[in-house]
Symmetry: C2
Subunit: 341 residues, 2 copies
């Protein structure tokens, strides 16, 4: 199981995970885009030295020391951003032992600190970030402006530097074609909803991420409060649509879910896209008591470990796409065997 997912106290209920991240930059250092190697080394050392004094244990990785499949695997596990891989020369990151905290160095900003938690957990995520942020700030001077707040390399992050992203599983809204409406409503409220390939795109496995768009002119607490309220509305809408389907289109729903179950348990080669869709249907089936014995969180975990780089890291081999599809099929079928009598 992905480490950050492990938490039996936190129940998944449509919300898969909450990510809270803050963007920070050190005073008197150039932004990452324009610094040279020695400036980057100096900056990285300052941050590392400060974090050595923290009681938590972190593992440190330099992007340039990792091979391609390892790099992408960290992204697939939601531990680092795809953006960090673009700064392969200066980029590095720290992962806390429980994998719930990542600190990226020289991504778009000097520091991108994120807390990743299962379920809907904004307050806790913010507490974690805020505590580590304070610890760093005790010893390090951030670029901060009285009027604008924290300064960042891209103006969209100026202010609190805070972005909260909630990952939701929205199969019913997605199935009934109500996603476009939802996107428009959210945009008016200053939020975005993204599928797998950014705003407006369809989410693989019906997974969608809702985040705040503005970081300026609002306090952290205001951002949290507003997002929490709206996410709960979206959850209710998804639940309402599920009820509608259950009451009016029961056979369609069962058929769709159980076909996915039959395919997932029997295929011999499967792409990420197809597997994500079937797993999404099965996850919906678990939530609606159409599929029994399986836990929703195990499907979430499966959605992570079947990603292409994870499969290659797992078997420590570079593979072509066809081989990955065959391995993915085996992995999923083996995983499902735990629920067979």
């Amino acid at each position: 199981m992905a480490k950050w997912l492990e938490d039996d106290e936190i129940e998944e209920d449509i919300v898969i995970s909450t990510r809270v991240r803050i963007a920070r930059n050190l005073d008197r250092f150039k932004f990452p885009q324009i610094m040279n190697d020695s400036e980057s080394d100096q900056l990285t050392n300052i941050i590392l030295n400060r974090l050595k004094e923290n009681e938590d244990n972190y593992k440190f990785f330099k992007v340039k020391d990792l091979d391609e499949k390892q790099r992408v695997s960290f992204v697939e596990n939601h531990l680092i951003s795809p953006q960090l891989l673009k700064s392969s020369n200066h980029g590095s990151f720290l992962i806390r032992e429980d994998e719930r905290v990542s600190i990226m160095i020289n991504e778009e900003d000097h520091i991108r600190l994120q807390a990743l938690l299962p379920g809907l957990n904004m307050e806790k995520g913010w507490d974690i970030c805020s505590t580590i942020d304070d610890f760093i700030e005790e010893d390090i001077n951030y670029a901060f402006d009285e009027k604008f707040g924290y300064l960042t390399s891209c103006p969209t992050n100026v202010g609190t530097g805070l972005r909260i992203s909630v990952m939701l599983h929205l199969p019913a809204i997605s199935m009934t074609g109500h996603l476009k409406n939802l996107g428009e409503s959210l945009r008016k409220l200053g939020l975005t909803i993204r599928g797998t390939y950014g705003e407006g795109s369809k989410g693989l496995g019906s997974l969608y991420q809702i985040s705040n768009q503005t970081t300026l002119g609002q306090s952290e607490q205001e951002i949290l409060f507003k997002l929490d309220k709206i996410v709960k509305q979206v959850i209710n809408r998804e639940k309402g649509t599920r009820n509608f389907l259950e009451n009016n289109r029961r056979i369609f729903l069962e058929d769709r879910i159980l076909r996915s179950y039959g395919i997932i348990k029997n295929n011999r080669q499967i792409s990420t896209e197809e597997a994500m869709n079937h797993l999404s249907n099965i996850k919906l089936g678990i939530d609606m008591n159409i599929v029994e014995k399986i836990k929703s969180k195990d499907i979430t975990n499966l959605m992570i470990i079947i990603q292409p780089a994870n499969i290659q890291v797992d078997s420590n081999k570079e593979m072509d796409r066809k081989t990955i599809n065959i391995e993915r099929s085996k992995l999923i079928r083996d995983y499902f065997k735990q629920w067979e009598e």
Copy 2:
């Protein structure tokens, strides 16, 4: 199980069934297309009276006494032709107790006598037809011309009036796109290959029917010999293609077959077309030892009983298409339970 399929001595090996039929007309009667009610009654009685003297037991049905689902069900069971249903006023038929012999009255000709046997069985089919034909002819005068042979309402049947049709399961040839070539080769040899909706069409469940096109200028034995030889060539081609797939595209094949198995066992509504395709894949899987425990002939039987009219006759209800699809799904899943441990 469809009665005519029951025969443990006859093994299915790509060939599902052999149908031998002869067209006969009574001397001094108008052809069915232009006769009136009393002529039709008279003709029907002559034939019925003759057959009463036969030692075999027949059930007699008038098309006009049957409702729509009953009519179509006889067609789906391959016991009568769709053409007979068009002559709903004058058409009638006799079915022998074992359902291997049908005698249609006033289809396109006065008499259409068919023997239907599982597997490749032309000689036996011809023997059955020939014996009954001789029995009828002892007492009834057929329209016969020394030069042309038996006279029929459509010139394509003049001569022997004999048409032999062999139903083959050709999933590998069909999958690899070699069907068009095969059709062209057969046409040059005076044979036709038909899918579900006639010549050139795709066969539902990869079922194709090969028959002789000419009935004139060849003896019955010549027709039999030629068709037998060519059908065996087609069988070899299908087997060769299966071997090719097994050796070169094993994963593709297993994936396709086992997905069908997963879908068939889990869906909650399914159309005839889709079910036929999955059953065809499963049948191929049985023949190639990819699917275990199930007998190939049971799948053939399933391919018959899931047809829409059969489902309605079985539950003695008229149903809309959606309901039929739901019933079909249940029927198939129940049927598959016999193979579960």
